[in-house]
Symmetry: C2
Subunit: 317 residues, 2 copies
């Protein structure tokens, strides 16, 4: 059994690779919920949905969100009626949101909703929101505190990030599927996907019960770098690191994770950073981490798994 | 000022006529909410929406619900994912439901939501749900108690109606716009639209405050027959009258309204019933009540108005 902590597009790609090289049912993916919000009365789970669509082979890879072969009839009418149109929702995507709304209306938890949606989309890997309670990423900027989507979509991630908080995280509980997996004697490794460490992984780690469950687990924790050659593959990771006064490098990400991790997967192009990472007491492996093709995803997943299985849990410092 | 109590398609047609012959802002329409329900997490207001679409010139007249030139992308995807597809929602219709959901999420009352929707659809007549609180029609049948949509759409109005109750009606309050109009010294008449007396008008009258406000109003109350030549134009009115052991006639509808009404508009084809209606102490007028064309709607509205303005309030018995 493998547990993966994951966020949006980059995480979903590695998860797709992992579900190809593992028995997918042995893969439990705790997905960031900090980006979730309610829009037009609908619960939107951007990272869960991206992962669901990616595993189902339905994701719009160019766009980085939503589905391929999408149509926009509802959105066109909303716009014509002066409705809120700043957040794009395709027709097929809306169908997913309505399935979720119906399940929520019937009293289902997020975990239960995720289980039904996996079944409806034929996804065997156990992808699930990291917590059943609401955790909301708040981005602190010179313009004030912004809700995540307000910052990310509404303001196109332009305002300077001065800090991040995660409303609801302290009181939230780890989703039962994830907690059970973290306590499973058969757990081999915990993988932090190459997602944005601040916006995708941090909201999961901010859940107090998650930090203690990770600390208590016998399995090594291995992070995969989201930074390749001093840049992020996608999204605002590098921009945020700069704004937070960090060096934009894999080693800086590794330092950010600190004592939490036992192993780190560095990109081949950043081989020069290996020594500085190992000096942090973290076992290091190199791989080609850019996932452009299906083959890339599978190869990276296989390499990460092989490495994680050899990693040792660090002794408590 | 005119107040109209109305339900679905027949009511919406008369309301369209009234809004053409009156200053539409002087027309307050209290719309049946007994058919409303929550589906796929969305509040659906079938009678309000039919009236809104009819006044905006967007209604699908053949179908009797929803919009013209509709598409079904969301529904197709819902069906493909094994979602609830028994209640059809077009893409444009879903946009309206999402506008409503957003307003509800922001804390708006039904009255406030209706005001925004009228503005977004360019409807000047003050159409509004009869009450801000939930009133739900329950249909008692040999199969047990069915929610209205369960009976009407789910079971195609086939089960025998043994009785009707209106959950929430006793405690519900009359919508402020309607209550204000009923107390307005400028109110000329209250019109009961040619809607189903049991399924459309009764849920409005079941609101205790509505009955007392109608009783206290100085304005005469005039009903327009939904029965023409012993049959209903549309829907299950005649079937329900039969099942409730009533004669299927305009006079029987008039008896059903009893002391509540001061005047009754009978169809020309039912001239023979005029004496029996007048014997009930109700002033009677005849008109062509079948509304096939825009001209029919306007002529009936003009005739009903002219008659209502001459009607006298009956002395309390």
């Amino acid at each position: 059994m493998i547990v993966c902590l994951s966020g949006g597009v980059g995480g979903a790609k590695l998860v797709r690779g992992l579900s190809a090289v593992l028995d997918p049912e042995a893969l439990v993916v705790a997905i960031n919920t900090g980006d979730d919000f309610t829009h037009l009365g609908l619960e939107i789970w951007p990272d869960f949905d991206t992962t669901l669509y990616t595993l189902a082979g339905l994701a719009n890879a160019q766009q980085g969100w939503g589905r391929e072969n999408e149509t926009w009839r509802v959105m066109e009418e909303l716009r014509a009626r002066d409705g809120e149109a700043w957040f794009s929702l395709g027709d097929k995507d809306i169908a997913l949101h309505l399935l979720r709304a119906q399940l929520r209306h019937e009293g289902c938890t997020a975990t239960e909703i995720a289980a039904v949606l996996r079944q409806r989309f034929g996804v065997a890997a156990q992808i699930t929101p990291a917590t059943d309670q609401a955790v909301r990423t708040i981005v602190h900027t010179p313009e004030g505190a912004l809700g995540f989507q307000q910052y990310f979509v509404g303001r196109r991630a332009e305002p300077e990030v001065r800090g991040l908080t995660f409303a609801g995280a302290e009181a939230a509980r780890v989703a039962p599927t994830v907690l059970e997996a973290l306590r499973d004697p058969a757990l081999e490794a915990i993988i932090l996907a190459p997602s944005n460490p601040f916006l995708s992984i941090e909201p999961i780690l901010a859940v107090a019960e998650m930090r203690s469950a990770l600390g208590a687990s016998h399995a090594p924790i291995v992070a995969v770098t989201p930074i390749i050659g001093g840049a992020a593959v996608k999204g605002p990771t590098a921009k945020i690191m700069r704004e937070l006064g960090m060096e934009i490098s894999a080693a800086a990400v590794c330092r950010h994770y600190g004592d939490l991790i036992d192993g780190f997967v560095l990109d081949e192009v950043d081989a020069a950073e290996q020594l500085s990472i190992e000096a942090q007491g973290v076992t290091c492996a190199r791989a080609q981490t850019l996932m452009l093709s299906e083959k890339d995803k599978i190869e990276l997943a296989a390499n990460v798994l092989a490495f994680a299985r050899t990693c040792l849990k660090r002794p408590p410092s």
